[in-house]
Amino acid sequence: MTKFQSKNISYSHRKLPGGIRPPEHKTISNSLEIQTLQAPDKVTLRIEPLLIEHLLVSKGQFVNKGEPLTDAQFVNKASMIHAPISGTVTDIGPRYFGHQSGLAETILTIKTNSDQPANDYKFEPIKNWLLAASEALFERIKQAGIVGLGGAAFPTHFKIASSKDKVDTLIINAMECEPYITCDDRLLQEHAQEIIEGAQITASVVGATKIIFGIEDNKLQAIKNLDKAIENYTAQRIHMEIIVVETAYPSGGEKQIIQLITGKEVPSRSYPSSIGLLVQNTATVHAIYNAVVKSKPLTSRVVTLTGDLIDQPGNFWVPIGTSVEHLIKTLNIDSTLLDSAIFGGPLMGETITDWKLVTQKSTNCIIFNKSPQQDRSAKECIRCAECEVVCPVSLVPQQLYWHSANQQWDALEQHNISDCIECGACTYVCPSEIPLVQYFRYAKSEISFNREKQQQSEKSKKRFDNREKRLERIKQERELKRQQKQEARRKAAENKPSDPDGKKSAIAAALARVKQKKANENE
């Protein structure tokens, strides 16, 4: 591997404890410039349950591209959505939309309307973000509906808010370690300047004093362009550097990039901010740049459209909510040869067969490959432990598999299943082709479901116990009162003086007087 030398660049010697080196398939799509996809005439957006109550639009209403569809003041743990194209809202409501659970989701459909002149919505420009208050920048990131574009789609404003003033280093994740995906690579090659500005904005909002770009050594051109952009960045306020690591999957996992770049580990069940770090994906900080500097909300993203069924694979700006159907039509894909497509990368992605499904903010890649000739079924585990060799977090997947298959949840928790990052390296190497990650996902969801149930039952048990105690206490108090009263009565009876009004003594005195008198009379 040719090493590109520069004062901004250092090469890390650190390696993942496991990891794999699958064929990259990246050259198919990373040589062409990012193109703009022919806009679809219909988009469909999924509305997060938290936002259903707070929609700003109704059916039949015309919306401009970029217009916010939800009320920003209610967006805290969710993220804002905006109209990806101009047009009329034709449908809002619960519809089945290809979710694996088979349940309906609330969706919103927008169709282009050529009658009405479109007027793209933009935010009020921030003239010079360097002079803007950090609260204003934060508010803009929140308003723009930015989420983690590396695949997790976690609301960025939420992540930033929980890291604010706790972190000293911002790591920009440019690893892009999964095969086929090249959208971050292309973004870096073409928009390095904008990306570093986005990183500067993010770092200043959270109060970081250092920015590190973490990138794999297979993206030489991106490294060069990034280095040049850092050299040319005159308004530099926060120190920037590039750390290049050896290409291996999954170096781009949040915990893994931290380990590779800093040598530190995020403690189990906590966030990177607990060790002073914040990780943001390349495309995410580019979206932050667009929101702050270009005043544009997140309505489209770069998606790698690749696979052997596309004549010219490459990267495209695709509006959020574009259907696979539209992609198949515009890219001239022979759908007779296509059984399924992969959303995301081949290792962590999701295989879909319903062409009505749409791209999300998190969709970084869609792979259209010819369907495989034969589908081999899984065989029994022979405990070869190849999975253990490649596991980047040092789990023992062969044991996890055994316990998952036998539904032994306690044993799974003892084996730290919650630390599994679901990278799929184990599935990739398993000679028996067991879909290990599927087992682990299932086990994790069962465990959290059971835990919730247990917590609830513990709560109600506590409630019941408290009630019993309360009743017992009331009973005891009553008993005590009763006893006290009785006691008081008894005491009162005892303490009653033998001659309360002096009657007896008066009688006795009278008798004595009579006696005396009689005696006197007898004398």
């Binding site: 065989k379 977090v393 023992v396 630390d419 000679p431």
Partner: protein
């Protein structure tokens, strides 16, 4: 299904292990005669037939499961552990027991707690101790060498057409029978001979040479499995180092009473055991540290059984004993998980 996979299957792993046995099998045929080849045929076909029958009974897919080659591998391993002129029905009992009882009744491939080949072998060793220790001397010192036809006759009828039995092929020039070097030295040490005196005997030496080359051939096959990353280095290396270390310490204590470490390393089933038997993933320990402990313990037990035990070789017993311990070893050798303080 989304199949993005590195492409090596369980069947390939098993088939490669079968291929890696070829050098050792050739050497064993060369030094122990045609009987080894006949055993290989009997055991392989018995193992496959037994697997097919029991799969049918268990209502499992027969053809697909046979294609994982695990039954074939078990058959081949048993064959290579048996004396060359063992009566055919004993081989069949051993292989059927290994496949049906030790493997399939526990649930088949992946579920057997014990190494099936070694269970089959130990069953035979305990049931037929005389036949199971009737090894042949090296060809160079043997009085008679059985031809292919004679071997077939001996295995299937017990006698050749000329009326000879297995024992007549075990004689060497001076009219004594010759056992394996490990057996021979055990008896000799018990009668008061010194280790160096035993080693100095010409017949013993020529016999030892045969076993040396057989072990070398298995070593070559085993190393190629390691290079192909079919097996990991942990178990074979820790096992061999442990044999070397233990036997060296014993020799240092008293070189007259104990065999030199090279004899222990290159005779009997040492290399076959280290690379092909102890490495059976299903019944072995699976963690890194666990594999080292597992291999080293087997090595230690091999030396102890060979030196102080009642049997001349101890690979099978050592492996089975450690099979029992493997789950416990795994439990206590889990690696430290990312982000956690301790194990």
């Amino acid at each position: 299904m989304n199949k993005f996979h590195q492409g090596r299957s369980t069947s390939q792993v098993m088939a490669t292990a079968c291929f890696a046995l070829i050098p050792g099998a050739f050497a064993q045929i060369y030094f122990q005669g045609w009987g080894v080849l006949i055993n290989l045929v009997i055991c392989a076909s018995t193992a496959i037939t037994a697997e097919a029958i029991i799969l049918k009974v268990r209502k499992k897919p027969v053809r697909e499961t046979l294609c994982d080659f695990s039954a074939l591998l078990t058959g081949l391993l048993i064959a290579l552990a048996l004396p060359p002129l063992l009566p055919w029905w004993m081989s069949i009992i051993g292989c059927s027991f290994a496949i049906i009882i030790a493997k399939q009744l526990y649930g088949g491939l992946g579920f057997n707690p014990f190494n099936p080949a070694m269970v089959g072998y130990v069953l035979l060793l305990i049931s037929f101790p005389i036949e199971m220790t009737a090894w042949l001397p090296a060809k160079s010192i043997a009085l008679e060498v059985a031809s292919l036809t004679e071997s077939i006759q001996l295995i299937f009828t017990g006698y050749t057409t000329s009326g000879m039995d297995v024992n007549s092929y075990r004689l060497i020039a001076d009219g004594f029978t010759m056992a394996t070097p490990l057996d021979e030295s055990k008896t000799a040490l018990a009668t008061g001979l010194m280790s160096s005196e035993i080693m100095a005997q010409a017949d013993f030496q020529s016999n030892l040479t045969g076993w040396f080359w057989i072990n070398c051939a298995f070593l070559i096959g085993g190393l190629s499995l390691m290079l192909l990353r079919i097996i990991h280095w942990h178990i074979p290396v820790s096992l061999l180092v442990s044999i070397w270390l233990t036997s060296t310490l014993l020799s240092l204590y008293d070189s007259d009473l104990f065999l030199p470490s090279t004899t222990l390393l290159f005779s009997g089933a040492t290399m076959l055991g280290a690379f092909f038997i102890a490495t059976d993933p299903v019944s072995a320990s699976t963690t890194f540290k666990g594999r080292l402990i597992y291999g080293a313990s087997i090595g230690l037990l091999i030396v102890i059984i060979r030196t102080f035990g009642g049997y001349p070789d101890g690979v099978a017993f050592a492996v089975l004993l450690l099979n029992i311990a493997a789950p416990t070893i795994d439990h206590y050798t889990k690696p430290r998980v990312y982000g956690s303080e301790t194990n």
